[in-house]
């Protein structure tokens, strides 16, 4: 635990140093940049950070489900796109009243996400197609499919050049949670529940055990009676279902429709966050907050300091790398410590024996 903290601290420090070096080399004002990045965020910014962390968290959770089973779901991007679009259309049509409508839309989104990911799952389970490749392809396909459907389903507001789905009736919005003078997405609660469920299912249920076992050794899993194909499909679909939630905080808490400027790229950010959080729900939460914090704090860099905010993308990537590297270094250091202790214990034993003999 102590070593774990040490490795995290080491990583952040290294990322800090590397970023500073880059800034120095470029001749940008290092001090000003850090002053802006490390400035205590205002309440409004905190609200933004938590909101953005919420979507990142769900995305990373979706990725992590796959990772735990050795499945690399690169397709969260496409999955959340088709799912968010579905949710917006379903909720916008409002076939059901109030929160029933919300719940139904969420279920539809999860189902669509699951099915979309399930395509990759089926291909992997039945045809042995690498899910890395199939999900990348499905991302592109999702993009075009949703673009097409959006144009078909869109309503255009008078005078606007945006197109979006029909607005969701107000009774089906998910109300925000008061946060000082501001509000954060009510969906944060659902995200936290997802994290808890993730932990519980993986660590406390037989299904979770089967999933982890398959991830560790598919051959051992088969021999133990696990239907690996079904697990592959199942894990992929669960991952997709969680991915289906990613866009929903925005849909139900902010935009109330799906439009052409809907946030993209959350799936890829989720991969980084999942890796950063070591596929553990608490770690992922910290990672999501860190990424959201950096994004939020870097936004005004151009305006206030005159430095491209892209510098934090470098920082974020470097953090992912340094975290894993420092974890590895700390692990090796721990091993060496242990080794030295064994040696010492042995020597003590020997001298004790020698004394016994001479006595």
């Amino acid at each position: 635990m102590g070593l774990g903290l040490a490795s995290a601290a080491l990583a952040l420090l290294a990322a800090f140093a590397i970023t500073s070096l880059v800034l120095l080399a470029a001749g940008d004002p290092v001090g000003d940049v850090w002053a802006q990045l490390l400035k205590w965020p205002e309440q409004r910014n905190w609200a933004n950070i938590i909101n953005n962390a919420c979507t990142l968290y769900l995305s990373a959770l979706a990725v992590a489900v796959g990772f735990r089973m050795n499945l690399f779901n690169i397709g969260v991007d496409g999955q959340y796109r088709v799912a968010a679009f579905t949710a917006a259309v379903v909720a916008g049509e409002a076939w059901l009243p109030g929160y029933l409508n919300t719940a139904f839309a969420i279920i539809c989104a999860m189902a669509v996400g699951a099915v979309w990911a399930g395509i990759a799952g089926v291909l992997r389970a039945s045809r042995g197609v690498s899910e890395v490749i199939s999900t990348i392809m499905l991302n592109f396909i999702a993009t075009y499919l949703v673009a097409y459907l959006l144009r078909e389903a869109a309503v255009k507001e008078e005078g606007s050049n945006q197109i979006a789905t029909k607005e969701i009736p107000e009774g089906s919005w998910i109300p925000g949670i008061p946060f000082g003078d501001f509000e954060i997405y009510g969906f944060v609660v659902i995200a936290i529940l997802c994290g808890v469920a993730f932990w519980f299912v993986l660590n406390r249920t037989r299904f979770g055990f089967d999933l982890r076992a398959t991830g560790q050794s598919s051959t051992a899993a088969i021999a133990s009676g696990i239907n690996v194909k079904r697990m592959t499909l199942g894990a992929m679909m669960i991952s997709g279902a969680v991915a289906g939630l990613v866009g929903l905080p925005i849909i139900f808490g902010e935009s109330h429709s799906y439009g052409s400027t809907f946030q993209s790229g959350l799936g890829f950010a989720g991969i980084a966050v999942a890796l950063l959080g070591r596929n553990h729900p608490v770690g992922i939460a910290l990672g999501a907050l860190l990424f959201a914090y950096l994004d939020e704090q870097s936004n005004p860099l151009q305006i206030l300091v005159g430095v491209s905010p892209q510098i934090v993308a470098i920082t974020q990537g470097v953090i992912v790398l340094t975290v894993v590297i420092s974890y590895e270094l700390v692990r090796r250091y721990g091993l060496r410590l242990e080794q030295r202790e064994v040696a010492r214990a042995l020597n003590a034993e020997r001298t004790a024996k020698a004394e016994e003999v001479s006595a």
Partner: protein, 422 residues
């Protein structure tokens, strides 16, 4: 991890004297001609005349190269056992390198700059995965993030204020030379215009190859051949591949596994960088933010599609480049025509599967064939979104039918630590 000596298991089959049908060595050439013939027939039947025009072939060549070079990068690194999902990032670095060095020091400096920048990405990946033993996927993802941020940051530092430059683009880069063999091109052109079945199409294909062909395209193709030769015909290549198949065995025979992996990943980065450079210099004429458009991932897909082999990689990139080009050109018509071709192909596959006693798959394939056929006759033209989907759907379909024959290097993606032999 120790490597169990036993051969039995679920995945591994016991030694069976395999009846390997040995195809003649020239089968790829024959296959190529068969495909060209099929496309000619399709042109004749459907009247979609852009399937094999000179323009299509020329644009396809340009579309193939970046994907192929990226895939070649993936091939080098994965053959040495290092998964390189960071190709996309290394390509991105390459686009900037081409833009910066190309603008300031000329076309060839741009090429060198692209390779160099890609290799820098490779260096980071090599340090992380080979020296520190970081998970390959993690490192690759991190590199993609870093590279994207880095070039956007670099662009804002280096291109803003230059004529035609800005946050998201470089000024125009000088061109690398192109080759045109005029008399031959003209002669072929005449044949191509005559509308003789198959012959005209063939002429168009060859005409595209001798007209205005960028030197970089030629270099890229040579790199493909060179890769094959180095990896499969030299001791260096054997050692490098052994690191991807069984690093423990390689180390037990005195191969400096980590060094080979390191070098392989560096080369991988350089090739990916060149792929990016090609995008900036040949496919277009300046660096642009977002120029790679996921081609690094697609290169990876093409490599897997190609069974981790140069020839297969070329086939995979061609499939991709071709369908992408069709979509952008007279997409609606061409892709519409392809539907018919696919329907016939699927039907044939279904019959073959029936003969192979695979009835369930046969039914599935048959349904696919019917759906495609119905679509062909129901639509006059394929809507643009679906046209754009074509390369991805095609890849997915082909993988679905061919992936069981794929075999990746046995130790691909595994972290190797020195002293793990035995």
């Amino acid at each position: 991890m120790s490597i169990p000596a036993t051969t039995t298991g679920v995945a591994e089959r016991p030694p069976a004297p395999q009846v390997r049908r040995t195809l003649p060595r020239w089968w790829p050439v024959a296959a190529l001609f068969a495909i060209l013939l099929a496309l000619s027939v399709l042109e004749a039947v459907t009247g979609a005349d852009d399937l094999l025009s000179r323009g299509t072939v020329a644009a396809t060549l340009v579309a193939i190269v970046p994907i192929m070079l990226a895939g070649l990068g993936g091939l080098w690194s994965e053959r040495a056992g290092v998964v390189n999902i960071g190709l996309e990032g290394m390509m991105i670095l390459g686009t900037w390198g081409a833009g910066y060095f190309g603008y300031h020091y000329g076309a060839w400096a741009g090429v060198a700059g692209a390779i160099l920048m890609g290799a820098v990405g490779g260096l980071v990946h090599a340090i992380a995965t080979v020296i520190f033993g970081v998970d390959h996927i993690i490192s690759g993802v991190a590199i993609n993030i870093i590279a994207l941020g880095a070039v956007q940051y670099l662009a804002s530092l280096t291109f803003v204020g230059l004529p035609g430059g800005g946050q998201t683009q470089s000024p125009k880069i000088p061109d690398v030379p192109s080759i045109t063999i005029e008399p031959l091109g003209d002669a072929l052109g005449k044949v191509a215009e005559k509308d003789i079945f198959f012959l005209s199409e063939l002429a168009a294909v060859f005409q595209a190859m001798v007209t205005n062909l960028s030197v970089l395209v030629v270099i890229a193709m040579l790199l493909l051949v060179l890769t094959w030769w180095v990896l499969w015909r030299t001791p260096f290549g054997l050692r490098l591949r052994s690191c991807g198949e069984s690093p423990a065995a390689a180390e037990s025979l005195g191969v400096a596994v980590l060094r080979y992996k390191f070098v392989a990943v560096l080369i991988s980065g350089g090739l990916a960088g060149l792929a990016g450079g090609f995008l900036a210099m040949v496919a277009s004429s300046n660096y642009r933010d977002g120029q790679t458009g996921g081609r690094g991932y697609i290169g990876l897909a093409a490599m897997i599609f190609g069974n981790w082999r140069p020839g297969g990689l070329l086939a995979g990139s061609s499939l991709f480049g071709y369908t992408e080009t069709l979509g952008l050109r007279q997409g609606g018509d061409s892709v519409h025509a392809l539907l018919l071709g696919l329907a016939v192909l699927a039907l044939a596959a279904a019959f073959w599967q029936v003969r192979q006693q695979q009835h369930r798959t046969a039914v599935l394939t048959g349904v696919v064939a019917i759906v495609l056929g119905v679509l062909y006759f129901a639509l006059d033209e394929v809507p643009s979104d679906f046209v754009n989907m074509t390369p991805y759907v095609a890849t997915l379909l082909v993988l679905a039918f061919a992936s069981q024959r794929l075999r990746m290097p046995a130790a691909d993606g595994q972290i190797y630590r020195k002293g793990s032999a035995g």
